[in-house]
């Protein structure tokens, strides 16, 4: 997995690329650790993420848990292809905000 990070005054956008699976947890955990005291809005842009599995979904829920605990908000943006299909069958949008546009 590759991660790009863009920050502004109001938000932090993490753009994930390639895949998010079990073997990527160490790198993802580094992102999550940095959110422990973060108050800005967190966005995960998945427009270039090609594949996600159940472990990857679990990591997103973990990030949501930490952000919520801190009083922040988290959004997932533009899932595509296989990732979008996983989102559809898991109905992840019932628990995490998912948007399909720049927000």
């Amino acid at each position: 997995m590759q991660i790009d990070r863009q920050e502004s005054k109001e938000s932090i956008v993490f753009s994930l690329k390639e895949k998010l699976s079990f073997k990527d947890h160490t790198l993802f955990n580094e992102i999550v650790s940095s959110l422990e005291t973060e108050k800005r809005r967190i966005v995960f842009d998945l427009s270039k993420l090609e594949m996600i599995d159940s472990a990857g979904i679990g990591m997103l829920f973990l990030a949501q848990k930490i952000v919520s605990r801190n009083g922040g908000t988290m959004t997932i943006r533009n899932p595509q292809g296989q990732v979008k299909r996983v989102f559809d069958i898991t109905s992840i949008d019932r628990q995490i905000k998912v948007v399909t546009s720049e927000e």
Partner: protein, 619 residues
């Protein structure tokens, strides 16, 4: 490997593979160290009729490769990978297989995405849970991921685990792709991981698989899973072993089908087929199909159409088992349901002798809309496929579900039901369409008996320790061996003798009620081994219900049996301390009638609804 002369087989180093020279060519690719970019040599493999890709670090591969040679189900291409656990974990094989499918075949985006989702979860499970035996807790946090990752890495550093083989087989046919994965683990019990039909339960990778694939099979006691995905409208291929007993499941929802399938594999069934509304023909059902489980998540009209088409099909004997579920309620497929299915499929009936063994079962219905039409239809279907059935055994109660198993060889059909509405429909069906039938009603709590002169009903005293059904079964079996059964008095003498021998001696106050009637005078007798009280439930014109002690409504018989003199609803209790009792049921506490009666009387009782062919007293 020099010297191999078969022109249709090429054995090459992995980086020297070229496209196949003929449509029947097979490729065997072996390697010690994996290539940095395996996709470079996977693309040419799509041109081969079949391929075998072998990681030489996987131990025992020569013997296992021989087994792979026999696994040919595809029409277009089949490929087999034998990988060591370490290589399987290190390289992204599911992405590679997806790319292989995408490059070499014209599958839809939907199939490719679904394949990648399912294959990823299955391969991960086979590696981590199967070969490495590492468990992942359901509740995940950052520490859990780190801990599991560390365990996996530790296990892979041990050559014994790293070299364990993992088999991946890919089969490609017209519009479909099959994937099989075999690991060296002990397998898993489906019910441990999928306990509910619940579209919110996306915790385990298996949930993703069940919601993605069109069919799912697993071996019962080893790590072996197969899935199939197919394009809409693609013809199903019959790849099942037609010799062994199979089960067909008709369901609109592949999730439900996969769940039922998984549980049936836990029970040891390996030959399960799914029928959908799109299945063009039922001819593919093996002749040995033992059961057809119809989940009513599909529209009733489709079921009717399907069963109607089966009528004109060749002489298929199927065994209808119908189970109604309510998706919206998040119905749980609990152990009782699967025990019920297993009981049907493992009954003493030899399914290869359908013509001579006459057992048909109709499953449980819950009150739903169109209940009358559905029940009537299914009962008619049951009678059509089993014209030799002579009577029904009907289990249930007005308020609670019935249970009770009865093994009988006299052409019975067993019907379980819930609810008084269902019971009335069944009774109406029998009365109007099968008056010659002899329905037998067995109840746990509060019985009513169909208005039919050819009935037999029984209630046994619970303190015997036997279930009512068991006791009556034994008695009935004994009675049927008696040539003088046409004489009710003699019959009751026989029952009394038999009952005395089977009832525990220390219970000296027993009431056994067994009703018999025949077409001639329709009387109902009962026998008791001790004192008893008889009550009658009377409903007045104003609707008030009361229980009164009955003193004159019975006629004693010479053999000690008592004969009911008039129809009505009676309660019989072994307690006889009451001289007079009058209870107004309207004021009695309790939710339903049996509870009210129990609370009002405060003593054990058995209820019997006595009917006669003609109203009025018997002289």
């Amino acid at each position: 490997m020099a010297g191999f002369k078969d022109p249709d087989v090429r054995i090459v180093p992995f980086d020297a593979l070229s496209p196949a020279g003929s449509p029947s060519a097979c490729a065997v690719v072996a390697f010690v160290d994996p290539p940095e970019d395996p996709s470079k040599f996977l693309a040419p493999l799509a041109s081969y009729r079949s391929f075998l890709l072998v990681d030489l670090a996987a131990n025992d591969w020569p013997g296992l490769a021989a087994r792979v040679r026999n696994a040919r189900h595809a029409k277009i291409c089949d490929g087999h990978l034998i990988l060591s656990t370490k290589i399987a974990y290190t390289l992204e094989w599911t992405a590679l297989l997806s790319a292989f499918l995408d490059d070499g075949f014209s599958f839809s985006t939907e199939i490719l995405e679904r394949f990648q989702i399912a294959a990823q979860e299955l391969v991960t499970n086979a590696i981590i849970h199967g070969n490495l035996q590492v468990e992942i807790p359901a509740e995940k946090d950052a520490d859990v991921f780190a801990r599991v990752f560390s365990e996996v890495e530790d296990a892979l550093s041990d050559a014994a685990h790293a070299q364990k083989p993992l088999f991946i087989s890919l089969g490609i046919g017209p519009g479909r792709v099959d994937l099989s994965i075999e690991d060296q683990g002990p397998g898993f019990k489906f019910s441990h991981f999928v306990e509910k039909y619940n579209d919110q339960a996306f915790i385990k990778g298996l949930d993703y698989v069940l919601h993605t694939v069109d069919s799912f099979r697993k071996a019962s006691h080893k790590g072996n899973v197969s899935i199939r995905l197919k394009e809409k409208g693609a013809e199903p291929e019959d790849t099942f072993d037609v010799q062994s007993q199979s089960v067909a499941i008709m369901s609109a929802s592949k999730v439900l089908y996969n769940i039922i399938n998984g549980h049936l594999t836990d029970l040891g069934y390996a030959n399960i087929q799914r029928i959908t509304a799109d299945t063009p023909s039922l001819e593919s059902l093996p002749a040995s199909t033992a059961a057809l489980i119809i989940l009513s998540d599909i529209p009733f009209e489709n079921v009717k159409d399907r069963l109607s088409r089966m009528r004109t099909a060749s002489n298929k004997q199927v065994y209808p088992v119908l189970y109604q579920i309510d998706e919206k309620s998040g119905h749980e497929f609990d152990d009782d349901f699967f025990e019920y299915v297993n009981e049907i499929l493992h009954s003493p009936v030899n399914f290869n002798e359908f013509a001579s063994r006459l057992k048909v079962q109709l499953g449980m219905f819950q009150a739903k809309e169109n209940l009358h039409e559905k029940l009537d239809f299914y009962l008619s279907e049951l009678e059509r496929v089993r014209p030799e059935v002579q009577r029904y055994e009907i289990f249930g109660s007005e308020t609670i579900g019935g249970n009770g198993v009865r093994n009988d060889t006299q052409a019975p059909a067993k019907i379980h039901y819930y609810g008084s509405q269902t019971r009335e429909i069944i009774a109406d069906h029998i009365h109007t369409k099968k008056p010659e039938f002899s329905p037998e009603w067995y109840f746990q709590s509060f019985p009513t008996i169909a208005d039919n002169p050819h009935f037999a009903a029984g209630i046994a005293f619970r303190e015997t320790g036997m279930t009512p059904i068991l006791l009556i079964s034994r008695l009935a079996a004994e009675m049927r061996t008696r040539t003088d059964i046409c004489d009710p008095d003699a019959a009751f003498a026989a029952i009394k003798t038999l009952a005395s021998s089977i009832l525990p001696a220390h219970i000296d106050r027993k009431v056994l009620v067994l009703g018999l009637s025949d077409a001639q005078d329709g009387h109902v007798c009962f026998w008791t081994s001790g004192p008893f009280s008889l009550f009658r439930i009377v409903t007045s014109d104003s609707g008030t219900t009361r229980i009164t002690k009955e003193g004159v409504g019975i006629v004693p018989c010479a053999n000690g049996a008592q004969r009911f003199k008039r129809p009505g609803l009676y309660l019989i209790s072994p307690e006889d301390d009451f001289e007079e009792i009058f209870v107004d049921m309207e004021a009695a506490p309790g939710k339903d009638l049996p509870e009210k009666i129990h609370n009002a009387l405060g003593l054990p009782f058995f209820a019997l609804d006595v009917h006669f062919p003609e109203d009025g007293d018997l002289s």
